[in-house]
């Protein structure tokens, strides 16, 4: 095997090894590279910043445990902002994992900011049904949720839910949807946000960003937090730097490594083409 072939056929195990070494270095010894705040993240931040204290923010948790590495830091940063601004928070989920994940993330933050469950925030839990569920909440939250929350406790006992009988513009000021698939933010847009005229923003994994950009440009999403980088940006904006800022260094390392391998593969390819031409 000559060099042109060697460069094109590097054993994938070497690639895996280099990736794990480089990512580990970035985690153990962060580079601390500055993170530029993208426009879409700032738009979401500015919108939440503009809400007056006491406004109700609805958080649609439409993702499963596979995406926690990217989406959990986003939710933590956004909830920091919500509680700092003294906004009310209602959580729901069309995905069964969403409200479970939310409970684990929000509970410690609520404790930190002295927020009382039922008064300042409520977790409605998972309900089967997908889009009919969120649509029915625009008519009657009690009926759509069978009148109970994530813990099967009656919603009528919570002051926050007494204030918010329906998912309409009259009662809800902003919707944030964290999603990785269907049903997700496009369903929230089509069945709740657009018909009810409630502004909406999204927290999504980096892979979903290209698909969501048309909605941002059309003004249907007032902002978008893109992947782990977006989480880092939001952490910086809200002044609560955490795991996402360190995590972005891993993406820098991975980008360098992948590009190096792509270059090596292409050098090998060009060498083999030239050799064939000479022959």
């Amino acid at each position: 095997m000559d060099w042109s072939e060697r460069l094109q056929q590097i054993d994938r195990r070497w690639i895996y090894l280099f990736i794990i070494v480089m990512v580990s270095i970035a985690i153990l010894r962060p580079l601390g590279l500055p993170v530029r705040i993208t426009d879409t993240t700032r738009m979401l931040y500015d919108h939440i910043e503009s809400l007056p204290p006491g406004s109700v923010v609805w958080l649609g948790m439409e993702y499963s445990t596979g995406s926690i590495a990217e989406l959990n830091p986003q939710i933590i940063a956004v909830v920091h902002h919500i509680f700092k601004k003294d906004l009310k928070l209602i959580v729901s989920g069309m995905w069964q994992d969403g409200p479970m994940i939310a409970q684990g993330l929000i509970e410690p933050l609520a404790e930190k900011y002295g927020k009382e469950y039922g008064v300042d925030w409520v977790n409605l839990g998972f309900r089967a049904g997908g889009t009919p569920y969120i649509r029915l909440m625009t008519e009657d939250i009690m009926e759509a949720t069978a009148g109970v929350d994530h813990f099967s406790k009656p919603l009528k006992d919570y002051p926050l839910m007494q204030q918010v009988p329906r998912l309409t513009k009259e009662y809800v000021d902003f919707i944030i949807v964290a999603d990785t698939g269907t049903p997700g933010s496009p369903e929230w847009l089509a069945y709740v946000s657009d018909p009810q005229g409630i502004p909406m923003g999204v927290c999504i994994i980096q892979m979903s960003v290209p698909g969501m950009m048309p909605y941002v440009q059309a003004g249907q999403y007032v902002g978008l937090v893109p992947g782990l980088r977006g989480a880092a940006e939001y952490e910086i904006l809200v002044g609560e730097t955490g795991p996402a800022v360190t995590g972005t260094d891993t993406s820098s390392m991975a980008a360098i490594l992948v590009t190096l391998f792509i270059i090596l593969g292409n050098i090998g390819y060009v060498m083999s083409v030239r050799r064939k031409e000479q022959e």
Binding site: I10, Y16, L33, Y133, F151, P210, A255
Partner: protein
């Protein structure tokens, strides 16, 4: 009757939703809300049905000692044990929550994380400048990849702007075209389903075929 009844229900439900959306009278009658209520109840039943069906299938695998039957047994035990624990403790019960956090969450995140290794290996093999189109795709991918990672801005201050331009113009233009095509296609499929021309949603009965 096995074909006609589901097709009739589908057609009536579809027409009700269309009528409710596009006519004021339909909105006044609030027919979609009634359908939504039925849909929620059906979805809740479907979960129970799924549980029963899954148990039945895997019980048969175990009983007949089919290939990989120990996995079927494992699935039945884990599924029922976790469900009973959840019913006994509630969803935020100590043990229920611990299993969720320590097992399910970690395993799912790990499996998703492994994708990074496969993507790296796939990028190395796929991004070859065999044609001009492939070269353009490779260059765009590298620009966006470095634009997303902070290293791009560290190398060149305008890297992020170039990456954003690709995402905001080239990407959005293409995406809009795809979305419009997909929505028109969805509309056509919806009409075919309502009219009974498409029967794939009926499962085994004439899957994906049209009535001649």
């Amino acid at each position: 009757m096995r074909k006609e009844l589901p097709m009739f229900i589908t057609a009536v439900s579809g027409l009700v939703v269309v009528f409710s959306r596009y006519f004021q009278l339909g909105e006044q009658w609030n027919l979609t809300t009634t359908l939504d209520r039925w849909s929620l109840v059906s979805a809740a039943f479907a979960i129970g049905l799924g549980l029963g069906n899954l148990t039945r299938i895997h019980y048969r695998n175990v009983k007949r000692r089919r290939e990989h039957w120990p996995f079927s047994l494992y699935l039945i035990i884990v599924m029922w044990a976790y469900m009973i624990l959840g019913l006994y403790q509630d969803v935020e019960g100590t043990h229920f929550r611990w299993i969720y956090d320590a097992v399910l969450m970690q395993l799912s995140a790990t499996i998703y994380g492994i994708i990074a290794f496969y993507i790296s290996s796939a990028a190395y093999r796929a991004f070859k400048i065999r044609t001009r189109e492939a070269a353009v795709m490779m260059i765009a991918a590298v620009i966006v990849m470095f634009g997303v990672a902070p290293i791009g801005d560290a190398i060149w201050a305008n890297w992020g702007k170039v990456s954003d331009w690709i995402m905001n113009y080239l990407n959005v233009a293409g995406r809009r075209g795809i979305l419009l095509g997909a929505y028109l296609g969805s509309f056509a499929v919806a009409m075919r389903i309502i009219l009974g021309l498409e029967r794939a949603h009926l499962g085994g009965i004439g899957t994906g075929t049209t009535i001649q």
